[in-house]
Amino acid sequence: MRRRIVGIETEFGLTFFPSGKAYLPMEKVIGYLFEEVIPTGWPSNAFLPNGARFYQDTGCHPEYATPECASVKAAVIHDRAGERLLESRLAPAQKKLDDEGFKGRLYAYKNNTDSMGNTYGCHENYLVDRQLDFWHLAEHMIPFFVTRQIFCGAGKVFRHNGQARFSISQRATHIHEASSSSTTSSRSIINTRDEPHADAEKYRRLHIIVGDSNMSEFTTHLKVGLTCMLLTALEEGAVLPDVTLEDAVDALRVISLDLRMKTALKLTNNRRMTALEIQWAYLEAAERHFGTKTRGVFGTLLTQWRDILTALEGDFSQLADRIDWVAKYELMHAFMRRQGCDLDDPRVAMMDLQYHDIDRSRGLFYLLEREKKMIRLSTDAQVRHAMQHAPSNTRAHIRGQFIRFAKEAGRPYSVDWTYLKLSGYFEETILCTDPFANHDPRVEELVTTATGDLYEI
């Protein structure tokens, strides 16, 4: 299997709920969140010893970008490590606020919408072969990205014409174009920003901003895994189905509201297909290309994909242990049965939000996980390890090694995805343009010269 670099960026919602009247600027809260993670006086932007980037993004959101991962499994684990890292910062920030007399509680949500219709994203990055024509890729992948929400959506109750309706996707209503270069004014399915953070003659970056933030590891695994598999098929010259949607943006919204999954969408070839039929067509193209007997992660993914589509054709409730929107839907409906209330009850809206609370003592997703109602792919030990250590098989390993050394030696440094720089004597900027390289003799030499001994991590 061809190796691919993958990264997930997550913007978290952050709020302070005061008991009584209090005004607290979020900038102050963000400052407390980043304390200790980032040296005092630095801008809120830091690479961590695990190779990840933790920073303050547009709109005062804490954002976590995973280090470069070379497997679906690593992406799932490192995405989870980002949640734990932010969670670990909540208590110290809360304490500071308590000490200063701000009465109330701090919350962080891994979701994509607030109560006013503002959105914040979960962006996927895939390194793709520059040889592959971008518009060919976009044309063949957009119908997949539009329809994958039927198993990747995080679920959300929106109001439509004054009526509360359950939607499969949080993000669908916020996407306005099929592809564009903007991430804030006119959000698109595929963002054309092409920063490969690698040799641009060999690679380009595929930046996907249409996806929901997922709590379920299985959902993240499918989202990233199936995308990687189809990209590999395209790079290897596979023929993907001719399912170009006449209006991809409108289709996103239609599918999101169609829990019965019966609506046929118009294609440019004048045929009509449902979201499920489009997914079946992709699955069969992938099976044709890789063969149904293929082993390894692609083999597993093909089986899981088939099982999920089969389940969605029958009774979706059987996916409540693995697919976010189904878990949330079932939880809300159990609550409504018990309370005799409707979907527009404020407590249901609270559940909608609290499903995404990353504090494990409060979050409803974590309640399900604790009760063994959600399939889990990582272990606590793997996630703890990922909070401290970069993946060992990508450039992130070099970055992690360098940051760990600089921190322990008390040396000022600056780092970005493609360079490392130690300030003071031996000042040198080291370019790391190969994201697959996990070993850099210059970094080891620098570390050796500076310490007189090879620094082992």
Binding site: E11, G13, L14, T15, F17, D57, T58, G59, C60, H61, E63, D114, S115, M116, N118, T119, Y120, G121, H123, T183, T184, R187, I209, R271, R272, M273, E277, W280, A281, E284, T292, R306, A311, G314, D315, F316, S317, Q318, A320, D321, E330, L331, H333, A334, F335, R338, P346, R347, A349, M350, M351, L353, Q354, S361, R362, L364, L367, L368, E371, K373
Partner: protein, 64 residues
């Protein structure tokens, strides 16, 4: 539409055997739904009490 049928009606041998071994689709769904019902006491314990005000106040600046 002809192609639609082609995509839907191709259960492999493996799939058909597996389906007879597993509990039926609706059984598993029912089981998971019952599991959710059993969690409702715990939901009552953890769900934020001032739901209406909380949700109304949850306003973020737009991100990316």
């Amino acid at each position: 539409m002809a192609q639609k049928k082609e995509t839907r009606h191709k259960p492999s041998e493996k799939e058909t055997t597996e389906e007879t071994e597993k509990p039926s689709i609706s059984d598993k769904g029912k089981e998971l739904t019952e599991d959710m019902d059993k969690l409702m006491d715990e939901i009552d314990d953890v769900l934020e009490k001032n739901a209406e005000e909380f949700v109304k106040n949850y306003v973020q600046k737009g991100g990316q």
